[in-house]
């Protein structure tokens, strides 16, 4: 058994054959896909490493997320605990929170920071903290004239009027699965590779805005909404703050970093996470995040303080499948040359794509897992095997 620690700021990869921790680039150059990888990937779940548990190796590796300790045996990597996160001793009110969080965010060189505006509470809070200290911020988001987008549109309009620079792209110009053959090679399969088209557009917009850091609201649901009851005395951040603790950041490493951009959750930054956790210590589950809506009610627009609507992009994903038949066929054709199996057979995958609407929910998830797996193999094959 190996005790694997990763106290880095980025994910490292545990190589089960050598027992070593590898960096992103080392892992990428040594990755050798194996026959049972697809089964292992499926059994791990499509959204990888977002909660404590045990995970099978894929290509003999397991990504070890930042600031976490893992125990590895022959078959599994088991999450053990998080490291290096402590609550403040004193209690914190909103003014203190805003001051400290803003100081930290400004230390990043605020002129180069942009915020991804999703239309939800989490990114709005990041914007409000920055606006509270008079920071001039740049906003970036996606818009659509679809009916389901009417609530997000209102939030975007609100913030557009508050900032100098705002870039809004059309959702339909970068639908999921539309750029699979261009996905950069990465050492480990992950379903976020399906949205590469969106990431490409984001990079172009960051250059236009002159931004080097793009803050997103990932993990806000967990930090602002999960139960922190029973953690009155504990100083180490509890296990139920799942997503950030276990965040796998291949997107930042493979997509953004080569362009000189850092794509990171503001909630994953240690001081921000610590401050919010300190404020929520002892509180029970609050999945509507009413706590935060109330605390910031005089800053937030009424649409976010008085309502807790939850947008869904499921329909947007589903609609994109039919448009991506060529891309799906191309990546699965290459992938199945290296690892012939029914699940990524191009003809069978296309048949499932054509019938996607009628698939049961679990089959839809499996379909996405198989496409993202084929995309992973395709990227490796294109950059390494074929050349």
């Amino acid at each position: 058994m190996n005790l694997v620690r990763n106290n880095q700021q980025v994910t490292q990869y545990f190589d089960n054959s050598t027992g070593a921790l590898l960096s992103f680039n080392d892992a990428l150059s040594s990755v050798v896909p194996a026959e049972n990888d697809l089964k292992n990937y499926e059994s791990n779940g499509v959204l990888m490493f977002r909660q404590p548990g045990r995970y099978k190796y894929v290509a003999g590796m397991a990504p070890i997320p930042p600031r976490s300790i893992w125990v590895c045996d022959e078959r599994f990597a088991h999450f053990r605990e998080t490291i290096g996160f402590y609550a403040q001793c004193e209690s914190i009110d909103r003014r203190v929170f805003e001051r400290i969080a803003a100081q930290y965010l400004q230390a990043l060189n605020i002129d180069t920071v942009a915020v991804e505006l999703s239309g939800g509470l989490d990114t709005a809070l990041i914007i409000e903290v920055l606006l509270a200290v008079g920071a001039k911020i740049k906003l970036f988001g996606f818009e659509s004239d679809a009916y389901a987008f009417r609530t997000e549109r209102r939030i975007q309009q609100h913030y557009k009027s508050k900032v100098d620079e705002f870039i809004c792209l059309d959702y339909d110009e970068c639908s999921p699965l539309s750029s699979l053959i261009d996905v950069p090679s990465h050492p480990y399969p992950n379903a976020t590779n399906l949205t590469y088209a969106r990431q490409k557009k984001t990079i172009a917009s960051m250059h236009l805005l002159g931004a080097k850091i793009l803050l997103n609201g990932d993990a806000g649901d967990h930090l602002l909404g999960h139960s922190f009851a029973g953690t009155q005395c504990a100083s180490i951040i509890p296990e139920n703050y799942k997503k950030w603790v276990l965040m796998e950041d291949w997107v930042n490493e493979a997509v953004y970093k080569p362009h000189g951009i850092t794509y990171v959750s503001a909630f994953a930054m240690p001081p921000v996470a610590r401050l919010i956790w300190t404020m929520r210590r002892g509180l029970s589950e609050d999945y509507m995040k009413l706590w935060a809506r109330k605390l910031f009610c005089d800053r937030l627009p009424r649409e976010l303080s008085a309502y807790a609507y939850k947008g869904s992009h499921d329909g947007w994903y589903a609609a994109s499948v039919a448009k991506a038949i060529d891309q799906i066929y191309e990546v699965s054709k290459v992938a199945s040359m290296y690892f012939p199996c029914q699940d990524i057979n191009p003809d069978l995958l296309i048949a499932r794509a054509c019938n996607y609407d009628a698939l049961p929910h679990s089959e839809k998830l499996n379909f996405m897992a198989h496409v993202s797996y084929a995309t992973w193999i395709h990227g490796l094959a294109r950059d390494r095997f074929i050349s």
Partner: protein, 189 residues
């Protein structure tokens, strides 16, 4: 009796409707002109709230309802019947829900009480139609001003049912209704 009125809508390059009798989602290549109907005032008012969710009154807190044990059992029985009729017999479900069985003054009280129905607690996501029809059957305020909307997400053909009543959405746990285009409205005439 409950009545239904179609609300054809355009999305993703097609026109969409929900059948009054079948309850099934239908896709049309052309605008289904013949299916457009005059909307009763109650429906058009409720529809305007759906179009602008921020004009809706909403409370995150459930109404506290004191329901005797025997009435909880009755509620479970009514719900069980609606489940047996099932989504497949959509029109029969509407007819059953149209036979009044008043138990609650308001629809938000009814929704709060439904938390005690074990099937609803377990399968909230899939039993939205039964939940809405049970409100129509048991809430006095629904008779006056409630409208059930059946909507769809055209991208993945997912469907949902919810209620708008007196400019409010009385189901305090339903935060996702905004994602669906309303295609059929059911109301007490």
């Amino acid at each position: 009796m409950l009545k239904a009125v179609r609300l054809p809508a355009e999305a993703n390059g097609f026109w969409w409707t929900v059948g009054k009798f079948s309850g099934s989602l239908k896709r049309h290549d052309q605008k289904p002109v013949a299916l457009f109907e005059n909307l009763p005032r109650k429906v058009s008012q409720a529809r305007s709230v759906v179009d602008d969710p921020y004009s809706c009154r909403w409370s995150p807190e459930p109404r506290s309802v004191d329901l005797p044990k025997n009435e909880t059992a009755t509620l479970c029985l009514l719900h069980d019947r609606l489940q047996r009729i099932s989504n497949k017999k959509f029109y029969l479900s509407q007819m059953y829900a149209g036979i009044k069985y008043p138990m609650f003054e308001t629809s938000d009280e009814a929704f709060s009480a439904f938390d005690r129905i074990p099937e609803q607690a377990k399968n909230r996501e899939t039993l939205c139609l039964q939940r809405s029809l049970l409100v129509a059957k048991t809430s006095k305020s629904f008779y006056e001003s409630g409208v059930i909307f059946i909507g769809a997400m055209p991208g993945n053909l997912d469907m949902h049912a919810w209620i708008i009543e007196c400019n409010s959405q009385p189901d305090h746990l339903d935060r996702g209704w905004i994602n669906y285009i309303p295609l059929l409205a059911i109301y007490k005439s």
